[in-house]
Symmetry: C2
């Protein structure tokens, strides 16, 4: 079961030729979830061969242009290419008005249903759940209400130990129940314990997205032991004052959050266009946390 993140844009507010604005595609157990959608996200998706008609859920962190200006164009293209499947958009208060007022002005018809869910400013906890995964939100600390997201796989079924099962002699029709973890008794009274004929499910994995945010310790409670953490690192140490002023983080601060949360791996992003390369981001973060990655646009991280 695959769980991967494709980084569609690694830049901050001003897009450059090498670093687009924030957007990430999460593919988790055949679910396609887009987080944020800066301008030209649909073009980045084409460039990196990411299928956008499969997206069923879009999560928006906050209403700054570099996180939402690509949304009207993406939805327009989905409609023009014949999408009928419903789409859910979860984000801050105002996301619905942002889209619907534009759609009205440009005369975009409703080719497919869009369900909106607007979060409260300080909302915490689960906001989406199905049989495969659950998504929770938590507040970040930015100039406007901003939401972090955490995606957790749910445990899958246990896996069959075929040799052990065959020795029990019970009918194959009991397999599903045994895989679900329940013990069974067959028609002839034979009792089979699930744990005797199945292996445990694979460990579940988790991903968290934290952009844009100042250094904010309460985040840690929501991302403990996360397998992969994305935390913005707009600046390096030298611009620490600028980070404070603009409610952004430095690479070191992102690393400190990863360390304190006992994250396994950390991806940085939302790099200010002032930096020609990210070597200093990497060096500074690695003084605090080992497993740090500086992604390029289009880079894929398997979780």
């Amino acid at each position: 079961m695959s769980f991967k993140v494709t980084i569609l844009g690694t830049g901050a507010a001003v897009p450059t030729l090498s670093r687009g604005t924030t957007s990430q595609m999460i593919n988790c157990q055949q679910r396609s979830i887009l987080i944020d959608c800066g301008e030209a996200t649909q073009i980045q998706m084409r460039k990196f061969k990411v299928k956008f008609q499969n997206v069923q859920l879009i999560l928006i962190s906050h209403l700054h242009g570099d996180h939402v200006f690509g949304l009207p164009g993406l939805i327009s293209t989905m409609q023009l290419l014949g999408r009928k499947k419903a789409l859910t958009i979860i984000g801050p208060k105002g996301i619905k008005a942002f889209l619907l007022t534009q759609f009205k002005i440009v005369g975009l018809y409703n080719g497919f249903p869009i369900h909106f869910s607007e979060l409260d400013e300080k909302q915490e906890g689960i906001i989406f759940e199905d049989k495969c995964l659950k998504i929770s939100t938590f507040p970040l600390k930015h100039r406007i209400p901003t939401h972090g997201y955490r995606i957790d796989e749910k445990p899958g079924k246990r896996r069959l130990n075929k040799q052990a099962f065959d020795q029990t002699g019970v009918s194959n029709s009991y397999i599903e129940k045994l895989l679900s973890g329940a013990d069974i008794k067959d028609n002839s009274g034979v009792i089979v314990k699930s744990e005797d004929v199945t292996y445990p499910h694979k460990p579940t994995k988790s991903y968290a997205f934290c952009s844009d945010t100042a250094y904010h310790l309460p985040i840690i409670n929501h991302i403990k032991n996360i397998d992969l953490l994305y935390h913005e690192a707009t600046f390096i140490d030298k611009e620490g004052d600028r980070a404070v002023e603009t409610y952004h983080s430095t690479a070191k601060q992102a690393a400190a959050i990863a360390l304190k949360a006992k994250a396994k791996r950390l991806i940085l992003g939302h790099f200010s266009a002032r930096y020609k390369n990210m070597e200093t981001h990497l060096e500074e973060a690695q003084t605090i946390f080992d497993s740090v990655f500086i992604p390029s646009d289009g880079e894929v991280f398997n979780i």
Copy 2:
């Protein structure tokens, strides 16, 4: 004095990797005028090294997404990079609300003044004029109110015939007046005729932009003898019915407009993403009009 058009996007509603949505930069006598601004126009500008802080005027043809979705991001970037110079935006009714409602939602501050001028649905005639050029508008025929634009250089000064001027013996202080076309009489009563000591100004050039539009003969009156005509050609002959349904044109129809208007050269564009190459567009247009060009994104036409 240079007058050139940089084609920033040659595609129709759905952008592809090779063809962006509609936008063109017109550089005319040190004026920078942007026409239309589909999604990712600011990125195309970077790609093709087109300076966007110099843009003083943006003309918008109509309120379909592929002509305006790049405008909020471009203006946001202009602000973030410190622009102070005023910007004028001329377009259909609704363009002001389209931008200002978004700016309010995403909290974009007013870093520089933006002046809006909204056109009436069937408006014709001059909408902008300065000492170097004049811009007029005329109605196109599309599903919603859509405006064509024509940019005409104004005659420059006459050019000095230095040898003839020197023979008159009058003071250099009369040169400006003579270049403006006026005759002069100096302090000692010597009369000098402008036409005796100056050459005529260079011929003025003109450019017209027609997108999006059905085949619409009244356009011809507004673009007679134009030096360079851009006319949309979304479809080829085979999709003629689709052109009628969607109020777009075929390559042949664009060529017929160019021929009837006695245009000198014709650029096609707004190509539907269904076409892998534009050979048929070119062939079909050339059955009617010789001087046809199929631009690539980034191509520059000197007028």
